[in-house]
Symmetry: C2
Subunit: 386 residues, 2 copies
């Protein structure tokens, strides 16, 4: 393969069509998009522009919703040694939009042990400052405080462990190895960890829907084997591509390589500089660009407009056309994006100041959070495949 | 090998001398026994009769004690679908004796998830009635209620998980596989489980001493690799042989095969019948036995006298001599044992009636238990091998 996609490593040039086949997920078709639009009363730009491009059982989620069975949302963020970058917000923004449109409960896992077990950091203590900051970043987005539960594994494990034991009992090492590519040097903690990541899909007796990047699919492929055996729903997934890093199309945004990403805690002025240095689809000279036009399809700046910085489809199309016809040069286009990114960061950092109280509500005091601190797992009769 | 010894399976005829070599543990020498006797002010029959026959670092435990650093005790019992039998009490009786002699804290783990993860039972619920009963059986033995903490994994996991993550991160799959013989069909839960069983060895910054049957050694062999990396002591072990079942020398006492074992919840009269049917070292006829004498070395009845039912060495020697010389026939010898077993069960079952309150103290309210519910794991600087 020209690429490798696991929850711990995404390498090489991603062929998304091929990934759909390899992972056995489904493409989001125009028909499905129309169904989402009519059920939700709108379509988030990340959906209508195909950044969320694949799914499992999304049509069943819509049916559950329409027929009154409801569903719930689940996503998460594993704290690492680096701060979150703008790309990390995407599954949360998608999740928040879904929560608003469908009014459903949302569970946000903070697996504060995962990076340590995966040997990406040298101690649990190393991620500790990030745990708090990541939670605040998420809380600042404005989820419904009574319908959202944010929990960190080392704190909520007391409630989750029994469910994790049930899940773990149903996953053989050979299966886990095939799905995740575990090796001899893999820690026994990382081998167990998938059981924990599956637990929140058992928080309710409804279908879970997980908005996440496609590299997380292996966990939920396993979930779909196990959950029916415990009498719970197979999870549905809404799967995104990866955000391009600033250095070029198809590159990764990595918080540990600062030149590739805009960090959420970055000085807005630093962010401006990074955007002005970003890789574009521009030509060698202004003259040439006026003559041949730019190439939005390989332009990181255009990519970012489509994802987070131009909500208006008409304006986005105008920008694309102006670029392709050589009327819009990279300089002003980048400056405009830099300005928007700067405003975005300033706004986010302002909201962060009020996030502490929100986080507390979603972790401990809010309606859903209070309920979850009394949650107890009980296995049910196995479900028929459904 | 003619035998197989893992924590989940003990098969074949055990060659204890060979086990000492294979496991790399040390034999308990007469010199070491003398040191225990002089430090403890006595020797438990299970020690002086060699049923606890091997160890790791026991001389270091004695040194720690003598030099004021102290040590602590740790043992446990995994609830299964069957009740506990008399043999299961042995590590606890040894532990209790050590606690009395040395006045040290004692931790008793009830891994209520282990049998389920090991696929020995089909649900967690299946062991639930036994969890309670096992705890009462242990509590009834009369440990120091302020120096003993009994905890079940699914309940105490909130306090243990962080430590388990640290341990798990330091155990690679290849090591765990080599130690436990994990296979493709092993559940990922059982692969993680050794990390949990190791956690109580990190409850104090002292040397842990674990009285247990030698099949548990693999867990603690791993512990001895990992603990110094986390700044904690390598565990010491006091290792026993296996109790013979009623059907013959070298057979297993198995609670799931009722004819092989005396269960703690058995009707005393049933126990009497089982003893009267036990395999002995007697001869084909009384006449022959009077002439040739019996063979205590292959006699289950004699074996049981040595372990639990004759504390007085002189009387035991007299019994052996009377048997060997043909003066004592199997009938009266068995009847006497049956009577003692019956009294033992009646006494134990009487004590069980008052065990509930003791159990509560050792699980929740007693001095050590109260402290442990606030325990928090903190890794330390790695220790030099010590």
């Amino acid at each position: 393969m020209g690429y490798e996609v696991t929850p711990w490593e995404v390498k090489g040039k991603i062929d998304y069509e091929r990934l759909i086949e390899d992972f056995g997920v489904s493409k989001i078709t125009p028909e499905l998009l129309e169904r989402i639009r009519s059920t939700a009363g709108g379509l988030h730009p990340l959906l209508r522009r195909g950044f969320f491009f694949a799914h499992r059982d999304l049509e069943k989620v819509l049916k559950d919703y329409e027929e009154g069975r409801g569903f719930f949302l689940y996503t998460g963020r594993a704290p690492s040694k680096s701060p979150m970058h703008i790309g990390h917000l995407i599954p949360f923004l998608m999740t928040k939009w879904l929560q608003e449109k469908f009014g459903v409960n949302t569970y946000i896992m903070i697996p504060d042990e995962e990076k340590y077990l995966a040997k990406k950091v040298d101690s649990l203590e190393e991620v500790e400052p990030r745990v708090r900051q990541d939670i605040l970043n998420i809380a600042a987005l404005g989820f419904d405080e009574d319908r959202t539960f944010i929990f960190r594994d080392t704190e909520f494990i007391g409630r989750m462990y029994k469910a994790a034991v049930h899940v773990a009992r149903h996953i053989n090492f050979s299966t886990a190895k095939a799905v995740f590519g575990f090796q001899g040097e893999t820690s026994i903690g990382l081998i167990f960890y998938p059981a924990l990541q599956i637990v929140p899909t058992l928080f309710e007796h409804r279908r879970p829907l997980i908005p996440c990047a496609i590299d997380q699919d292996p966990y939920f492929r396993l979930q779909r084997d196990v959950a029916p055996k415990l009498g719970f729903y197979k999870t549905a997934e809404l799967l995104s591509k990866f955000v391009w890093g600033l250095l070029g199309p198809g590159t990764k945004m990595s918080a540990s390589e600062p030149e590739t990403a805009i960090l959420l805690n970055e000085q807005p002025e630093t962010a401006v500089k990074k955007i002005l240095n970003a890789f574009t689809g521009g030509r060698a000279t202004k003259e040439e660009q006026r003559r041949l036009g730019g190439r939005p399809e390989i332009c990181v700046v255009y990519h970012w407009y489509t994802l987070l910085f131009e909500e208006d489809d008409k304006k986005l199309a105008e920008r694309e056309l102006a670029c392709r016809t050589g009327r819009l040069l990279c300089g002003p286009c980048k400056r405009e994006l830099a300005e928007r990114v700067k405003r975005f960061l300033e706004e986010h950092q302002r909201r962060l100041k009020h996030a502490e109280k929100k986080a507390r509500r979603m972790m401990y005091d809010g309606k859903l959070a209070s309920e979850m601190w009394n949650w107890e797992f009980k296995p049910r009769q196995p479900l028929q495949p459904y």
